[in-house]
């Protein structure tokens, strides 16, 4: 029921006076053998029928979210003098990658209620149902998840990183790291005024392994025995070949 209301609310949102016309530097990312991350340029214009409203300044939020997957966060404690994993918290869905770029500071671009409604900020993007029944202080675990992911560059919050020209043209660059997982990366653009979302636009970026990477990965999942035997054969051939080549090199 709530979902239905939400849907209606979305539809009822003024078929807004301001809408996004979007461009992406690329709408697919191919993970090939020499893949070393990718930078996506997101640019667009704001289409409007009426003159620019003069009340609150227009702000833009861009988010890119990797596929959601269940993760487990574990905490180490000292047991018998050594540090071992003790408590663990399972999170039902956390994005494998999540980047936010905004045109102003966080407080300027969005208010709490709209953040909750549109699940924009990083903590909102992580779905942790039933966390309280698993551990005493789930917030510590969730904070740790965000801290670890931000440190390794898979969660990114860049304030003032969207360049907005005359409330009409915007552009930003989001760097995607090398350790991407495959999937559809949901890309959302929100226009806000005074912390309220006035328009949203969604598209997706297709991240796929290609060529050899794709073939090896598929084989390892679909026919693991064949893959295992092939790995052994290739490794033996490579090992033998390399030592034979080296022997030839030394004798010749």
């Amino acid at each position: 029921m709530r979902a239905l209301l939400f849907l209606l609310a979305c539809l009822a949102m003024p078929l807004s006076a301001e809408e996004v016309v979007l461009g992406l530097s690329q709408d697919e990312v191919s993970i090939s053998t020499n893949f070393d991350g990718s930078e996506i340029i997101i640019y667009g214009a704001i289409k409007r029928e009426a003159p620019i409203p003069q009340d609150d300044p227009l702000q833009v939020i861009v988010t890119i979210s990797g596929p959601r997957e269940p993760v487990t966060i574990r905490r180490k404690d000292r047991r018998f003098g050594i540090w071992v994993n003790t408590e663990g918290l399972s999170v039902s869905a956390a994005p494998s990658f999540y980047a936010i770029a905004t045109s102003g500071t966080w407080a300027e671009v969005i208010n709490e209620a709209d953040d909750l409604r549109h699940t924009i900020s990083i903590p909102r993007a992580i779905r942790s149902v039933g966390a309280w029944s698993q551990v005493d202080k789930p917030q510590e675990f969730l904070d740790a998840l965000i801290r670890i992911k931000m440190n390794d560059g898979t969660y990114v919050l860049k304030e003032n990183a969207v360049d907005l020209q005359q409330s009409t043209l915007f552009t930003t660059a989001i760097r995607m790291p090398a350790n991407l997982t495959e999937g559809d990366y949901a890309t959302r653009i929100f226009l806000t005024r005074g912390g309220k979302v006035i328009s949203r636009y969604e598209t997706s970026i297709d991240v796929r392994k290609v060529g050899l990477e794709r073939w090896l990965f598929n084989l390892s999942r679909q026919q693991p025995l064949v893959y295992g035997l092939m790995s052994l054969a290739i490794a033996i051939a490579a090992g033998w070949g390399a030592s034979a080549a080296f022997r030839l090199l030394r004798s010749g």
Binding site: W83, S220, M230, G239, F246
Partner: protein, 303 residues
């Protein structure tokens, strides 16, 4: 040059992997050990997920031992019968080991298990080797040949079998047990287990030194091959791209290492190896004892 590893799903520098393979190869050529016990922890340090490191290392060991076995077969320094008995134990052990590995992975304790195994075995073997080689140096200085016990409790067990190549008539129970232990280690630690098997064959089974290395390599190939298949089919963690890169570096490094090793004295080599084993052990032990900077860790569901 970055290479994206399809199974590990991380991007690493290809030359770093070739270099690591080469470095460990040099050491393994110098000391005549497989080097798995060094490579697996090094792979942890450069950010390869432990499960992938262990499985891939098993695959690499098969390949790097293969040319060694061929050479030993040509020289007829492989006791095939003893190798087969060890192998039967090894296959049982590998199956047990992968079972334990997967169970602990579901509990989130696999990292601890792998590290504890390393600390324990490297510590014990390193210390024994260090004391042994110190004694050997002292004895060669005083001119007494090292004595070997001919009969111990091993010779009192039932199910005796004759091993012609080794010139032994002993019970099959001890070799099978040695095999099981090595199989478990291969599955859990991503090592060939030569560093356990070789001393066990010499001191426990009393096999002649000349057939020990060939026979252990023979057993290692099949056990690690079996382990690779088990990991590939149950965990999908064998990364062939990673294995090939390590391998190419490793084979070249091993050839260089053999040349260096031939120029050093056996006792000196053993002391060096013992010190290295103890150093790796110490580093891993410190990680367990000192409070980590980040108490939390994130893993995929059930990993």
């Amino acid at each position: 040059m970055q290479v994206y590893l399809p199974i590990a799903e991380v991007s690493v520098n290809a030359f770093l992997l070739l270099g690591l393979g080469g470095m460990v190869g040099v050491l393994s050529g110098m000391f005549g050990v497989g080097g798995g016990f060094l490579m697996t922890p090094l792979l942890f340090f450069i950010g390869i997920p432990p499960a992938v490191a262990v499985a891939t290392e098993a695959n690499q060991i098969v390949a790097s031992s293969f040319s060694g076995v061929l050479a030993h077969l040509r020289r007829k320094t492989v006791d095939l019968k003893m190798g087969t008995v060890l192998l039967i134990g090894g296959l049982i052990g590998a199956a047990l080991g992968v079972g334990v590995f997967n169970y602990l992975k579901s509990l989130g304790q696999v990292d601890l298990l792998v590290r504890l195994c390393y600390v324990l075995f490297l510590g014990v073997i390193g210390s024994l080797m260090f004391i042994e080689s110190l004694n050997a140096i002292r004895k060669t200085k005083s001119g007494k040949p090292p004595a070997r016990k001919k009969h111990n409790w091993v010779h009192g067990l039932p199910f005796k079998m004759r091993f012609r190549t080794s010139g032994l008539y002993i019970s099959v129970i001890p070799p099978v047990l040695v095999g099981v232990l090595v199989g478990i280690l291969a599955a859990i630690m991503g090592v060939g287990g030569g560093f356990i098997m070789v001393p066990a064959m010499i001191y426990l089974l009393g096999m002649p030194t000349k057939v020990v290395v060939g026979t252990s390599l023979f057993q290692i190939i099949f056990v690690t091959g079996f382990t690779t298949l088990l990991h590939a089919t149950t965990n999908y963690t064998v990364d062939i791209v990673l294995a090939v890169l390590l391998l190419v570096g490793g084979v070249v490094g091993a050839q260089i290492g053999t040349v260096i090793g031939a120029k050093l004295k056996a006792e000196q080599l053993r002391i060096l190896l013992a010190l290295m084993v103890l150093a790796v052990c110490g580093k891993l032990a410190l990680d367990l004892l000192i409070q980590p900077a980040e108490l939390f860790s994130v893993g995929a569901e059930g990993h």
